[in-house]
């Protein structure tokens, strides 16, 4: 019996079942042979519509928030366009919220320049594939108690398999441009993405170890319940989970080329790196894929560390689970925008050193920590306190020691200024 069938038969609140009931009501209208196809198509269309709009409003949120962080207003002029057939005009500018649609029209109508020497086919395929691969990762995220597009036993493996395929498109974009700077930038971008793929996966493995499953649905379900009726059983509220979440955040920032790890693009120095030869809608597609990737990684972080679609406190359980997921997603994206507005870009050697000398060892130690945590599962009473102390010590100790060792001789940095 699938989760969906249980949901319909069970006594869950109406709002929890509403999306499924809506879909079934529509599917029932169609002839029987096409029903299975439409059933899946609706899921795909729902993901495209919801996350397409989410992407649009992420861009405007990013521009507005960055504007506020930099003490300016951000885009606030775009209102409703004037339709010449209408006799009146809607004057309000809607706080500039229709900006992403104006941006889309602009990107669509811009000239699409392809270098004469470019490999035309690969140059065209790269932006198409990057969007396709980044959309594939949404298939296994549990957006709500019953809202999971594809239920897979090895969902996490699928997520990373689909996500790592985007590396190919970076290479294709850089190589197909037939521009030596694009190719060099693509190699740099690949070095970064490959370096941070390892810590990303290593930061997820502890959760798999403790939950005993690769299925995103199982992992989200395992985080249900509250201690003392107030502290949720989310993985982030354990020492290893907290450390894992921080490692995951850093690795996710680097994987999705966000500031402070936005070296692959580095608009001000590299003129968008491997995307130099892209223009118009193809360029917009790369950015779309970047935001989709960021959203998917945030969704994964929510699912495995922040309790997935679970409500934070019991008395708010009446709010449907997908609303909680989207709220957490908005929070994560907001955090990423805040980070972008706050931190400075790293140098490439600092970036790779951070990955290989600091984050990978800490992630491996965190794996041991999670093993300790799952071995001491039946400790109770005072032993529970000992368990927490030991686990916290395994997190803090290596962090401080490794950080000091790596910083020795580097910090504080001395600046020498030219004197007259």
């Amino acid at each position: 019996m699938s989760a969906y069938a249980m949901a319909v038969a069970g006594s869950e609140p109406f709002l929890e079942r509403a999306p499924l009931l809506l879909r079934d009501a529509f599917v029932q209208l169609l002839p029987a042979p096409t029903q299975w196809l439409v059933h899946h198509l609706i899921t795909i269309v729902a993901i495209l519509a919801v996350f397409g709009l989410f992407f649009a409003f992420t861009t405007i949120a990013e521009r507005k928030l960055l504007g506020r962080l930099q003490n300016r207003r951000g885009p606030n002029r775009t209102g409703v366009p004037q339709f010449s057939i209408l006799p009146w005009r809607f004057k309000h500018t809607l706080f500039g919220l229709s900006q992403p649609f104006a941006d889309a029209v602009k990107a669509l109508t811009k000239e699409d320049i392809v270098p004469a020497a470019a490999d035309k086919l690969l140059h065209f395929l790269a932006p198409v594939l990057v969007v396709a691969f980044s959309l594939l990762t949404f298939a296994v995220l549990p957006f709500g108690r019953n809202l999971i597009p594809v239920e897979l036993d090895s969902a996490l493996l699928y997520f990373f398999a689909a996500g790592s395929a985007t590396e190919l498109t970076i290479f294709m974009a850089g190589w197909a441009s037939r521009n030596k700077y694009s190719l060099l930038a693509a190699m740099r971008a690949l070095a970064q993405v490959i370096s941070y793929e390892l810590p990303l996966m290593l930061s997820v493995v502890p959760v798999v170890l403790v939950a005993g499953s690769l299925s995103t649905r199982e992992i989200a379900l395992a985080q249900g319940g509250w201690t003392f009726g107030i502290i949720p059983h989310w993985n982030v509220f354990t020492p290893w989970g907290f450390a894992g979440f921080l490692l995951f955040l850093v690795a996710a920032l680097a994987e999705s080329n966000r500031s402070p790890f936005d070296l692959p693009e580095a608009e001000s120095e590299l003129v968008a790196g491997h995307l130099t030869e892209y223009s118009g809608f193809k360029y917009a597609l790369f950015f779309m894929a970047e935001y989709f990737g960021l959203t998917a990684l945030s969704g994964l972080g929510i699912t495995i560390f922040l309790g997935g679609w679970q409500a934070p406190v019991p008395f708010l359980g009446f709010v449907p689970s997908y609303a909680w997921f989207m709220l957490k997603l908005v929070g994560m994206i907001g955090f990423f925008i805040w980070v972008r507005g706050t931190l400075l870009r790293l140098r490439i050697d600092q970036l790779t050193r951070l990955a290989w000398q600091f984050i990978v060892p800490l992630a491996l130690i965190n794996l041991l920590n999670a093993a300790f945590w799952s071995l001491t599962r039946d400790w109770t009473g005072a032993l529970q306190l000992v368990r927490w102390v030991i686990s916290a010590a395994i997190v803090v100790g290596p962090f401080v020691l490794l950080g000091r060792k790596l910083n020795a001789g580097r910090a504080p940095r001395t600046y020498r200024y030219a004197t007259s």
Binding site: D153, L157, F160, A165
Partner: protein
């Protein structure tokens, strides 16, 4: 189901054949990636979910990068021109090596008893069972693979870190 298998076979074999016939090495490498993706899809078709995603992660994600980097870093000048015939000795050696591998593969395929049975109930294998098998009876194989990969990684580091040139910026 059969139609899907035919389509997958066309994808796998077609991309492999075109990859062999192309002069452009990068195109060949990318078609090889398509071939690997097709093999992953074939595993999915056969119901081996875990193997399919592992294939996708390892081959499409990682080994493709190794191949592409190797092509880019070793390409010298006129690689797109067809290679000439070098010597008879080389020809015979290539024939022996290729024939040997082909012989072993064909022998292995023909030597495996192929018992055609009516399709019974397909056993539902979870990832947990696969993990228990890998960590239990097959743990030696897993460790050997791990050691092999570590050794190759160390070898790569030794090869790459031969010259230790410090940039003037690090001195400050």
């Amino acid at each position: 189901m059969t139609l899907a298998l035919i389509l997958l076979s066309v994808l796998i074999l077609g991309s492999a054949i075109v990859a062999l016939s192309l002069r452009n090495l990068i195109h060949s490498a990318l078609l090889l990636v398509a071939c690997w993706a097709g093999i992953a899809a074939f595993y999915l078709w056969a119901g081996a979910e875990f193997v399919a995603f592992a294939q996708g992660l390892v081959y499409v994600g990682a080994i493709s990068m190794v191949v592409l980097f190797a092509v880019l870093l070793t390409r010298q000048g006129t690689a797109s021109e067809p290679l000439g015939f070098a010597s008879w000795q080389r020809f015979i050696l290539a024939l022996v090596a290729g024939g040997g591998v082909a012989g072993i593969l064909v022998g292995a395929v023909l030597g495996t008893p192929l018992t055609v049975t009516t399709p019974g109930p397909v056993p539902v294998l979870t990832v947990k069972q696969i993990g228990a098998q890998l960590m239990g009876p097959h743990v030696v194989a897993l460790l050997v693979v791990g050691i092999l990969l570590t050794v190759s990684l160390l070898g790569a580091v030794v090869l790459a870190a031969e010259e230790n040139v410090k940039s003037p910026e690090d001195e400050v």
